[in-house]
Symmetry: C2
Subunit: 231 residues, 2 copies
DNA sequence: CTTGCGTTATGACATATGTCATGAAAAAGG
DNA sequence: CCTTTTTCATGACATATGTCATAACGCAAG
């Protein structure tokens, strides 16, 4: 499952400042000693629903999806997360097991910090606790907001919303490679694969995007925004 | 807006134990001095989207809805919350203004604690911080989970899910008074009022529930569960 | 008590979405 | 390289959901 291991110091990590800035030497050592860095290949499962929560996961590079499989075997994707996101913190303090599965959708570097070490530092360092609280509420907020936005749109609006999410928040470009299949887009926006494909084709026919396999270029950004808002 | 004010000591509050147990005298005094208790009548707006977050809100009795109004003027309800729930904590640490509006759907008692007092205690008392972290993640988790469950069902399943939510988690009875209108149920499950009404009528015709205005009785609990799971 | 307005209710019809079938294209695996 | 599997694509049709119209009912304000 975990294909490769490669420990680096947090000192070189651009996220150290974000999170560990307020730690003193001892606290930092405590965190760092219980820290491991793993690399997951595309498609590898990082954590599975029901597994005990043993550590705090922090995404350093790559992309992951958070999802759940229902009884019929159908997956429903909750969110796509990017570097800098806390990918497990959601339930770390209220659940003992993962409520959702996590899979790497491209090669992904994950920092894993032992839960007990993290809790010790939270107890000893209140500035750090506030920082975690802040970051954590932001991630939950983002998930709630995106689900909320998705649910009040129909297919065209949902796909436009997702394409703009990728363009604006993930890649910051108007041309990018879809990181997931059309089936997975459907699992994310709660639509069938066929309708997802059909709608993307329609956007292409209407000249709003061009498509070459997984490469998408937004040709008419304004119209895409308008569809995301109204449809 | 706030119709009545009535300060009680936290000592008599059944929730004190839940949250304020770990506070020492001074911390407790700090919280209590910045604490006010308000009573909101049915339909009264407790907080409005966009208002600055000044305090931490804690629901002592009654029921509230969390919702957002979109540009077309249509409301979308995010959750119905019951006593014991943190109703503002969601965005308290990551936003300076409320992202959602809060309205009392029946007479509701709300405890309001000044945000700065709360933050001071979080910084000074790490056990309390952990408790807040735990409770907070649970509330966010609940919202994410219910949205997640709703979105993968169609109308019948969504309504069955909601009816069972009321029966099992809010009233703990099989007969209860719907606290909201059918339009609001639609706003909660993202369906039109007509389809919501139609589906409830259908449940009645099929002998799954009986209805007398807003009074609902679940006659066939098993079938209701089965619809909630499959439909 | 009456009036007015929102809620509940239902039908007819339009539109959106799902399902099933089929095939081409692309990716994965030996 | 070839084979196998998955993804992408599209059509025809079934079903679910939305829209519009209409009416009875109930609650609340005067």
């Amino acid at each position: 499952m975990k294909t490769s291991k490669e420990i680096e110091s947090c000192n070189n990590c651009i996220y150290r400042k974000l999170l560990f800035e307020s730690l003193n030497e001892e606290e930092y050592r405590l965190v760092n000693n219980s820290r491991t860095e793993y690399i997951y290949k595309r498609g590898e499962i990082i954590r599975q629903e029901g597994e005990p929560i043993d550590s705090f996961l922090y995404l350093r590079s790559g992309l992951i999806k958070l999802y759940k499989t229902n009884k019929s075997g159908k997956d429903h994707i909750l969110s796509i997360n990017k570097p800098g996101d806390f990918i497990s913190l959601l339930s770390i303090f209220s659940n003992s097991v993962y409520k959702y599965s996590i899979t790497a959708i491209e090669e992904t570097k994950v920092c894993e910090v032992g839960l007990s070490a993290l809790q010790k530092v939270i107890v000893s360092n209140s500035a750090f606790a506030l920082r975690v609280l802040n970051k954590m509420s932001r991630v939950s907020d983002d998930i709630i907001e995106s689900q909320f936005e998705i649910r009040q749109r129909q297919v065209k609006g949902r796909i436009a919303y997702f394409i703009l999410f990728l363009a604006d928040r993930i890649y910051r470009k108007r041309e990018f490679r879809l990181p997931i299949t059309r089936r997975e887009i459907g699992e994310l926006i709660s639509m069938t694969t066929e309708n997802t494909i059909r709608t993307l084709s329609e956007f292409r026919k209407d000249g709003i995007i061009s498509m070459d396999g997984k490469i998408i270029t937004i040709l008419d950004y304004d119209r895409m925004q308008s569809i995301s808002k109204t449809g």
